[in-house]
């Protein structure tokens, strides 16, 4: 369901503030020595290896293994805050038709996302529950395996990246992804970006794009847009290898499942249903 204009402006305002804060003067062009360490701000985990950069008031976040937990029960029905924030932050276009559709986060029913685990006796309240789906940043990503130019590649911290400069648009990665996480720009996206965020590039036509776990925000010491904007704290992000991180503590305490685990991809988005 599309947000109303009022809802959209509210989310846009909150996200814009969240985006602008780290880029305020003091961090851009400076003569700072890179060896100044800065303490992490409240709410941001100090652990996970903090490393100084001059890109903002906060040092870059580093991890051995970034992961996301989705506490699906906390999602209010009809809420699309995460999608709006993500798409605004990353200049994701809205083409207005399902054929050309590009999205980084989608909302899908449980019986479509977890069709193997769904059975006819599940109540509709569970089957019909909407859960956000995005790139799983797999441990063993098939999309990276098939890319003929290594335009999509896996970082040491687990994030599966897209190099939009190198992508030739062959869409082999889209065929390889078992989760439907990737979108192709079948047209020039620029005219269809509702509100351009100058802090992030757009893409050009002819390349494939997907969620990037907000690696540009992690480099500025802040968590992904979807995580920060979620009022219910349904999205929990962090370093799985850090025992003190929110995501690790959550997964240590509760039952979680992943999408299509039998395929051996090792997805790093965990769902708590």
């Amino acid at each position: 369901m599309a947000p109303t204009r009022r809802e959209f402006l509210k989310i846009a305002g909150v996200s814009a503030i969240g985006l602008v804060l780290p880029t305020l003067p003091g961090g851009q062009i400076s003569n700072l020595s890179p060896h100044i360490t800065r303490s992490a701000q409240a709410g941001m985990p100090a652990s996970g290896g903090v490393s100084p950069t001059v890109s903002g008031p906060l040092p870059a976040l580093r991890a051995k293994r970034w992961a996301m937990a989705v506490d699906a029960g906390k999602c209010p029905p009809g809420c699309r805050d995460c999608i709006t924030a993500c798409h605004l932050a990353h200049n994701v276009p809205d083409f207005g038709n399902p054929k050309d559709d590009v999205h980084w986060i989608g909302l899908e029913r449980v019986d479509h996302v977890f069709s193997a685990e769904t059975h006819p006796r599940l109540p509709e309240s569970i089957k019909g529950l909407s859960v956000p789906v995005f790139c799983n940043h797999c441990e063993n990503p098939p999309c990276v395996r098939v890319c003929p130019t290594q335009a999509t590649f896996q970082r040491a911290d687990g994030i599966v990246m897209m190099d939009y400069h190198r992508c030739i648009g062959c869409r082999f990665c889209m065929a390889a992804c078992p989760y439907g996480s990737r979108s192709m720009n079948y047209r020039d996206p620029r005219p269809f970006v509702p509100k351009q965020n100058p802090d992030f590039p757009t893409r050009t036509k002819g390349v494939v794009e997907k969620c990037n776990f907000c690696e540009e925000r992690l480099a500025r010491g802040i968590f992904p847009a979807c995580v920060t904007v979620c009022k219910e704290k349904a999205l929990v992000f962090g370093d799985l290898e850090d025992q003190g991180s929110d995501v690790r503590r959550l997964l240590d305490g509760r039952f979680s499942i992943r999408r299509r685990p039998e395929l051996g991809t090792g997805p790093q988005v965990y769902y708590l249903l």
Binding site: P98, K99, D100, D101, V102, G106, E108, D111, H112, V113, S115, V133, P142, R145, V146, C147, P148, T149, Q150, A151, R166, C167, I168, G169, C170, R171, F172, M174, A175, A176, C177, P178, Y179, G180, S183, M184, N185, Y186, R187, D188, T204, K205, G206, V207, V208, R260, L263, G264, T265
Partner: protein, 383 residues
């Protein structure tokens, strides 16, 4: 020898002009595609490969079929094929060029195609496909041209041609296998994740390629003074029959695995392909045509009474070509994407510009075949 393609009868000139016109129209629409993006086609987020890749997949089979002439002649001394191996090699060259062109027009950023060479990725099947396709192109171009040139001069071919021809035999198998591996190694696409994808590709290739060659030989017999010989044509027809039978058998075997095991992941795709899902049944109509023409062709080819009668043989070969063009083209490609990983059914319909570009590339391929065969016929009928 190239000059032989530039002179011909009125009919030849009209045919060439017609193909150039179609190619020109296709090029015009390709420029539109470059401007607008691939959105000008019917491809979508769910069905991200369509008509272009379907043509590529089918044509790889046609290209590999040269081996069905080369192998019996060079390895088993089947003399009847001696006159026509070059026809197979030239068909292979044209088909591979069409394959490469179809992949090229399918790229979202074709200007960056050089990245395939600048950043080699041996773990990607597409990387190997580029290598084997280009290698096969070179092999067949060099061997076909050299042997024909030597024929024209009335001398035996040089010694280095033989090893290259022998190499082209396993290489032909490799272009199929690698293309099948593009599909068969993807964990998320249950319809394609089958070990017999490569054998299926080989079987349908060895049916569709020689079927096309038979049609070409019949056309050459009708319009030129070149006659491939009844023995060669009948042997090719028998090869098509066996390969077609194998191909049909492979499809039935796939149906058994899915429908006897009743695993939904397997069943859904085949149901969509053969019967339609939730009212989406356009592709089911097409595959029905494919099934009927395949069976009809098989009967016509197995029975000597029908196989030996030229009009029925021609009809059977057209049926084989059509049937496999559907089954290994859109039948294979689109079905892999439906239902999507999120259980949605998205229809795919090629758009006008997409069809125009496709026809344009086919015209280009037919133009190359026409010119190659014109050179061949000129050389063969003058010596």
């Amino acid at each position: 020898m190239l000059e032989k393609a530039l002179k011909g009868s009125r009919g030849y000139g009209i045919w060439v002009a017609f193909l150039l016109l179609l190619a020109g129209i296709g090029f015009f629409f390709y420029l539109k595609q470059l401007d607008y993006g691939l959105g000008i086609t019917g491809m979508s987020r769910d069905v991200s490969w369509g008509l272009y890749i379907a043509q590529f997949t089918f044509l790889v089979g046609i290209a590999a079929s040269a081996v069905m002439l080369v192998l019996p002649y060079y390895l088993h001394d089947h003399k009847a094929f001696g006159k026509i191996t070059i026809l197979g090699e030239f068909l292979a060259v044209s088909a591979v060029i069409m394959c490469i062109t179809f992949v090229f027009v399918d790229l979202g950023q074709p200007g960056r195609a050089i990245n395939l060479l600048l950043y080699p990725s041996p773990r990607s099947v597409l990387f190997w496909d580029v290598i084997v396709l280009n290698g096969y192109l070179l092999l067949n171009l060099v061997t076909g041209w050299t042997v024909l040139g030597c024929d024209r001069k009335g001398i035996p071919p040089p010694a280095w041609v033989k090893p290259l021809i022998y190499l082209s035999i396993p290489w032909a198998v490799s272009i199929h296998t690698v293309t099948a591996f593009i599909y068969a190694g993807l964990p998320g696409r249950g319809f394609w994740l089958t070990a017999i994808m490569a054998p299926r590709f080989l079987a349908s290739a060895f049916a569709s390629g020689p079927a096309l060659l038979i049609l070409f030989c019949l056309i050459l017999r009708r319009f030129t003074r070149f006659d491939a010989g009844e023995k060669a044509i009948q042997t090719m027809a028998k090869i098509v029959a066996y390969a077609l039978a194998t191909s049909i058998f492979f499809v039935l075997v796939e149906l058994f695995t899915a429908f006897y095991s009743q695993i939904p992941g397997h069943v859904q795709h085949l149901k969509y392909l053969f019967a339609g899902l939730d009212g989406h049944n356009t592709i089911a109509h097409w595959i029905t045509v494919s099934a009927f023409t395949a069976v009809a062709a098989l009967v016509l080819l197995i029975l000597p009474q029908t196989r030996k009668r030229e009009p029925l043989l021609a009809l059977a070969c057209c049926f084989v070509f059509l049937s496999l063009w559907i089954e290994k083209g859109l039948g294979l490609v689109v079905t892999g994407f439906v239902p999507s990983p999120l259980e949605t059914i998205t229809d795919y319909t090629p758009t006008g510009p997409e069809v125009a570009i496709t026809i344009g590339i086919w015209a280009l391929g037919l133009l190359m075949i026409t010119m190659f065969y014109k050179i061949f016929v000129s050389v063969r009928t003058e010596t």
